[in-house]
Amino acid sequence: MATRIQEGLTAREIAPQTRSEHLTRDDRALLLRYMMLMRGSEERALTLYRQGKVPGSFYDGRGQEAISAGSAYVLAPRDRMCILHRDLAAHFVRGVTPDRYLANYMGRAGGVTGGRDGNMHFGDRRLGCVGMVSMLPDMAEVATGIALAFKMRREPRVAMTYFGEGSTANGQWHEAMNFAGIHRLPVVFVLENNKFAYSTPNELEFAIDPVRRAEGYGFPGVEVDGNDVEAVFEAARVAADRAREGGGPTLIECHTMRMHGHGAHDDMSYVPPEMLEEWERRDPIDAYAARLVAREGFGQDEIEALRESVRTQVEECAQRALESPLPDPDTALDGVFADEFEPLGDGQAPWSRWAAS
């Protein structure tokens, strides 16, 4: 695990509207589907929240769907993830179904955590995920440790995690980056710059864009249009391949915009309306659907059929979630300690590359 400082690594940008050469037509349809599934599921969850069926608070990733869909899509079954609160599509890519997400929000027994933790604080261990905590960016260190295990066992596997630009102000972020760089660990850090940490804008978060710090840690920092799912996919694919081959970590900064408040209770009065209008025009789902029609030979009817199929799936899942019972209060004291160690399971890996291998 010798330290080696690479030369000439500076932040670079992947050209907008990048077309990946590594996606089939079915892959493209799936990427769009996962983004739509995230949007539809979160809209449904927000309705449940407004109906009073969600205890606590509600958080979503509206406008950021391309990031979690495009990045998680590159992973192989035995790769591992720590997914954060604006990354629902990553859970879907790995195999969580919307009913379990919605049930988790409602504190039901059928939720991923069975009511033990709420909102987006979940990760299905049977699908290779470790659920996030509220303290950010703690999962960057956990993902780094997962990658350390891969490197120690000489396994060609990748750990991937997410954080907002707000997390880059915390010391633990530095601890994770520094350690991952020292040991060239196989970890992909996806930075979602959605322009606000709750209400705090970029200019009060850092003097220089955090992607530039990657050079100081000895690994590449890459900037992409976070609303372009293929650009995110390409950046993540290059980063994951590099990690798998022993090349070490990558920091990918995805520029995007948080189109809703920090939580449903947040009226976003601090966001200039023209900013939201501008980013609304760059909606990642609309943009990708239009692009598939314009450049990839998809018919408008196909897009509509996909939209309808997602709508139906979400509604069926909502019904299942609503039918899920609340947890038995007598189980509240169970499971503080583990009786035995159970390894994490493997995730779903829908990218055609893995089906072919």
Binding site: E141, V142, G145
Partner: protein, 321 residues
């Protein structure tokens, strides 16, 4: 059996487990080439390599957080805090991530955090603390505090094999002073079982870590019929042994080096008051450090840490009650 010091027993336990199980590895500050601030891992890097005796940067949250990640992926990390005091810098990963992962997500986190703790050598406010009570307020952490060389090895081996985060408090004062016969090779001491060190009828002293040998010496000098229980594990607590002894003698002194308020002594006093009130012949007494930081200068430090004369005095008062 081999005679060794408490410190050598910790090294022996760690070495035994690293030889037995390839997934066991150590990480911490200056543990590799230097062998650790107290030399627990001296020679380990030569035997096990730099990957498994991993020198980390000065970043305690990273040490704990990376251990969590490695543990959920099937490794068995043993973290060394250079001094127990520094766990404060890794507390977020410990209490918010490691402790809660199984309850929240069903993810077991088999890891050990070794914590050289305790005062008595002018370490001052940042190298002398006994932080065990901090952990007892974080459900999901097991906490052990051996008092003898054999238990130090046996509890460390059990901690490494346990599927949960285990806080291993190793008292620095005992490192080279405490010695005894330690079983060779495989030796475990079950987590959650106290040990009756000495049977007696007149009074019970509940102790752990550094106060066990202090209690033994005090009782010997007093020449009274006193029972001494070495708790060994603070979480999960061996309530059965504690309550049985309290009911038997009717007088209980809880002794620890950590500060007083909301400490292990407070918890045990409450437990005994709740469960064994009818059997008590006297109020439960506590011998602890007062609620102050541990001062640096020897006369100040000696005033603060519970010593042999303090133990004898409280024991005499309780016996006379």
């Amino acid at each position: 059996m081999s005679e060794m010091t408490y410190l050598e027993a910790i090294s022996d336990g760690l070495r035994t487990e690293m030889r037995r199980d390839e997934s066991v590895f150590c990480l911490g500050e200056d543990i590799g080439a230097f062998g650790g601030a107290f030399k627990v891992t001296a020679g380990f890097q030569e035997e096990f390599g730099a990957d498994r005796v991993l020198d980390t940067p000065l970043a305690e949250n990273l040490i704990i957080g990376a251990a969590v990640g490695a543990a959920v992926e099937g490794m068995r990390p043993v973290c060394e805090m250079q001094f127990a005091d520094f766990i404060a810098c890794g507390f977020d990963q410990l209490v918010n991530v490691a402790a809660k992962l199984h309850y929240r997500q069903g993810v077991a986190v088999p890891m050990v955090v070794r914590l050289p703790s305790g005062g008595g050598f002018s370490g001052g406010p940042f190298h002398s603390q006994n932080p065990e009570a901090w952990f007892l307020q974080a459900p999901g952490l097991k906490v052990v505090a051996p008092a003898t060389a054999a238990d130090a090895k046996g509890l460390l081996v059990s901690a490494i094999r346990d599927p949960n985060p285990v806080m291993f408090l190793e008292h620095k004062h005992l490192y080279r002073r405490e010695r005894g016969e330690v079983p060779d090779d495989d030796h475990t001491v079950p987590i959650g079982e106290a040990h009756v060190v000495r049977e007696g009828e007149e009074m019970t002293i509940l102790a752990y870590g550094s106060t066990v040998s202090l209690a033994q010496q005090a009782v010997e000098e007093l020449g009274e019929d006193v029972e001494i229980v070495d708790l060994r594990t603070l979480c999960p607590l061996d309530r059965g042994t504690v309550l049985a002894s309290a009911r038997k003698t009717g007088k209980v002194l809880v002794a620890h080096e950590a500060t007083r308020s909301c400490g292990v002594g407070a918890e045990l006093s409450a437990l005994i008051a709740e469960e064994a009130f009818e059997d008590l012949d006297a109020p439960v007494r506590r011998l602890t450090a007062p609620d102050v930081p541990i001062p640096f200068s020897p006369p100040l430090e000696q005033r603060v840490l519970p010593g042999l004369e303090d133990m004898k005095e409280v024991a005499r008062e309780l016996l006379a009650y």
